[in-house]
């Protein structure tokens, strides 16, 4: 009987360690070479606020056409129906327009949060959503530092909606729709590394025109969308308190601990069980048996 118990517990522990093998934490958090990622550089000093990108985005992604007339004083957020919006910000240098959409983080919190890998970062850096996998738990929304993923609360078959960096267009060798349709040249598509060089170049040549930082170079471990600005970024409504740590890193230690606990706790518990049982038996023998 004893040996059978023992075997069963060993089996349980074995099963636990098997499960542990599947639970490796590092995948989404591992930094990868940044050379081949694509991205978009937004030069907010060039943006006219014409909203052509909004309309191009809607057309390319078969979303309802954005409203023609909008109240510019109202700060708009992206919605399930509108993956990008351009807002006007009153800054120390007058009105500045900023396009807003998914930042396509280098190490996306949403993708590491997704338990079905529906939120998925493609090898070239676009963070996309796959309908057939998503269970609608909305943990990506909880995790995203920029609050980008949007959920269709009014649909019985809801989707997570957000900018996909025109992933299908990229496959065909095209640029994202918003970039192709920007009349002001405020958006530039390219390899992320080259865009960073380009941005530094612009700052170097016109040091008075720009603040000497590129938003997205280091924020949350780097994003594929990069911003140049004439005014401090917080005046453009960009969160500047997020730090430079990639968000998946915050859960890494916990996830590392999981296989450890799964393999070490069962033998420890079993040993404790044996010890307490041995003590009980010894006590009973010491008392000479009460039964």
């Amino acid at each position: 009987m004893k040996r059978r118990d023992w075997l069963k517990t060993v089996c349980a522990a074995g099963g636990a360690s098997l499960a542990a093998r599947g639970l490796r934490a590092e995948e989404a958090a591992a930094p990868e070479p940044l050379t081949d990622r694509v991205g978009v550089l937004v030069d907010t000093t060039k943006c006219l606020g014409c909203r052509m990108c909004e309309f191009a985005c809607a057309r390319a992604n078969e979303l309802p056409e954005p409203e023609q007339q909008i109240d510019r004083s109202v700060r708009r957020d992206t919605t399930p129906d509108q993956w990008t919006v351009v807002n006007r910000y009153e800054t120390e240098r007058g009105a500045v327009y900023r396009k807003q959409q998914c930042m396509h983080c280098v190490q996306p919190a949403c993708a590491s949060a997704c338990l079905t890998r529906a939120m998925y970062r493609t090898p070239d850096g676009a963070v996309t959503w796959r309908e057939g996998k998503c269970m609608g738990c909305r943990y990506c929304m909880v995790s995203c530092p920029f609050d980008v993923p949007k959920f269709e609360y009014d649909s019985p078959v809801p989707k997570i909606q957000k900018c996909q960096l025109c992933w299908s267009r990229l496959q065909e060798g095209e640029r994202p729709a918003c970039v192709s349709n920007c009349p002001a040249g405020a958006l530039k598509f390219g390899k992320r590394r080259e865009l960073l060089d380009e941005a530094r170049d612009r700052i170097y040549h016109e040091p008075d025109k720009y603040v000497h930082e590129i938003y997205g170079e280091h924020e949350v471990g780097g994003t594929s969308w990069l911003y140049l600005s004439a005014v401090p970024f917080e005046q453009l409504g960009l969160p500047t308190h997020l730090g430079e740590t990639p968000f998946p890193v915050y859960t890494r230690e916990f996830l590392y601990a999981v296989p450890l606990v799964l393999t070490l706790a069962p033998p420890f518990l079993l040993a404790l069980n044996r010890a307490s049982r041995a003590r009980e038996v010894a006590e009973e023998e010491g008392e000479g048996g009460e039964a």
Binding site: R4, D77, M135, D147, T251, V261, N273
Partner: protein, 423 residues
């Protein structure tokens, strides 16, 4: 193996199936009066919940909830799942004490606690399905076509699932005894220790995992509640949360199901509650100490001046420190009402803590705050009502509050002794 045993026990499996079918039909019939105030109220809530859920599945989550793009998780996750699972923590603590540490004193409450834990997982973690936008895809991370192994939620989901299985195995001897399957019961009883060890391990991980879910919501949870130690705090607090629920549930169960309580449990109940109060007090002081460390480490003094600071102090002092002291006091004096009061306060404190992390302190800066609709509250009450119905059904039929402890897998050497006490 099970099949063989059943076969061996009764030559004709078909006869046995027919016998059990009839038995089950008889057992499914309600016992006692139908139109009691409790039945009418909870029945009404369940019916209303069913109507609301029909609307929810036909028209989407927005039709009956106040969830928004800013608040993707509301009452159903924050209370039903995150708080409910903390309350279910009593099961792993009690089986740890009985089967691992060999504290026979707590053996009489093992079954009721495990049953409570199991049902809590089935119903409250099951309530997760109501909240999922695309519940038909819930099998994806289970059947293996898309393992999001880097997700804390993946881990929590798997551990919920496996732990429910472990708890069912832990409880299954009671089912086998009820159904009259002697040999099956023996096999299941022998599996208890394995299930217990596996279950405790899983519990430690997903109790802390529920806290770890919020690690990535770094900028969204109020700094008085966010820290990198949330998983540890969730784990430690689940110990006294679970035990407080055991005490609270016990005080109700002993009144309502008086006729089902065994002689041994009736005799030792007082002693058990006192022991639990001591453990609660000890773990609560550990928790308080950990909270103070986190408070100092996180340099949280600056937040104390605000309204949030007072809210935080109310939770920590009013619903942790005070009940901890009451538990200690109740344990010293052997005063059950004090202990029950402390348990109730602790439960409120846990609700506050879990909601402060998941709902109240979440996006504390948002202009439009989330407040649940009455419909979300009704569905939550409906889930609780349904659980109570099943709990009552099981308690009234299966040997839960009164059972023979001699055949437990634990300490076969001590079987005779336990048998004498139980007889």
């Amino acid at each position: 193996m099970t099949m063989q045993l059943v076969d061996g026990a009764r030559p004709n499996l078909w006869d046995e199936a027919r016998r059990f079918g009839g038995f089950l039909l008889r057992e499914l019939k309600p016992k006692g009066k139908l139109l009691t105030p409790f039945n009418v109220i909870t029945g009404g809530i369940i019916l209303l919940s069913a109507v609301l859920l029909t609307i929810r599945f036909a028209k989407g989550l927005g039709s009956i909830t106040n969830l928004s793009q800013d608040y993707p998780w509301g009452l159903w996750i924050g209370f039903d799942v995150i708080t409910g699972v903390a309350f279910a923590g009593g099961a792993y603590v009690i089986v740890f004490m009985v089967y691992i540490l060999g504290q026979e004193k707590y053996h009489p409450i093992v079954r009721v606690t495990v049953l409570n834990g199991f049902l809590a997982y089935v119903f409250y973690a099951g309530a997760l399905l109501l909240d999922l936008g695309r519940p038909w895809n819930v099998v994806n991370p289970v059947i293996g076509n898309s393992f999001g192994v880097s997700s804390v939620l993946f881990l929590v989901a798997w551990h919920f699932l496996l732990y429910m299985l472990a708890q069912f195995v832990e409880f299954s001897p009671a089912v086998a005894e009820w159904a009259g399957w002697q040999r099956v019961r023996k096999v299941l009883g022998a599996m208890t220790l394995g299930a217990v060890i596996f279950g405790i391990t899983l519990s430690m991980l997903h109790q802390s995992g529920l806290g770890a879910l919020y690690l990535m919501a770094k900028e969204k949870v109020h700094p008085l509640w966010y820290s990198e130690f949330i998983p540890v705090l969730f784990l430690v607090s689940s110990i006294f949360a679970g035990l407080s629920l055991v005490i609270f549930e016990g005080s109700i169960t002993h009144k309502v199901f008086h006729h089902r309580v065994g002689r041994r449990l009736a005799a030792t109940h007082h002693d058990i509650v006192r022991g639990l109060a001591r453990i609660c007090a000890a773990t609560m002081f550990v928790y308080l100490f950990a909270q103070i460390l986190v408070f100092v480490h996180g340099q949280r003094w600056q937040y104390l001046g605000s309204g949030w600071g007072w809210w935080y102090l109310l939770e920590m002092v009013g619903f942790v420190a005070v009940p901890a002291a009451l538990f200690l006091c109740g344990y010293r004096n052997g005063c059950l009402p004090v202990i029950r009061g402390a348990a109730l306060m602790t439960l409120i404190g846990i609700v506050l803590n879990r909601l402060n992390v998941s709902v109240i302190g979440f996006k504390w800066y948002a202009e439009v705050r989330y407040v649940p609709t009455w419909m979300e509250i009704v569905v939550t009450l409906g889930v609780i009502s349904a659980e109570l119905w099943v709990f009552r059904w099981v308690i009234n039929r299966m040997p839960v509050l009164d059972f023979d402890m001699s055949e437990s897998s634990h300490a076969p050497e001590g079987a005779e002794r336990a048998g004498v006490i139980a007889a």
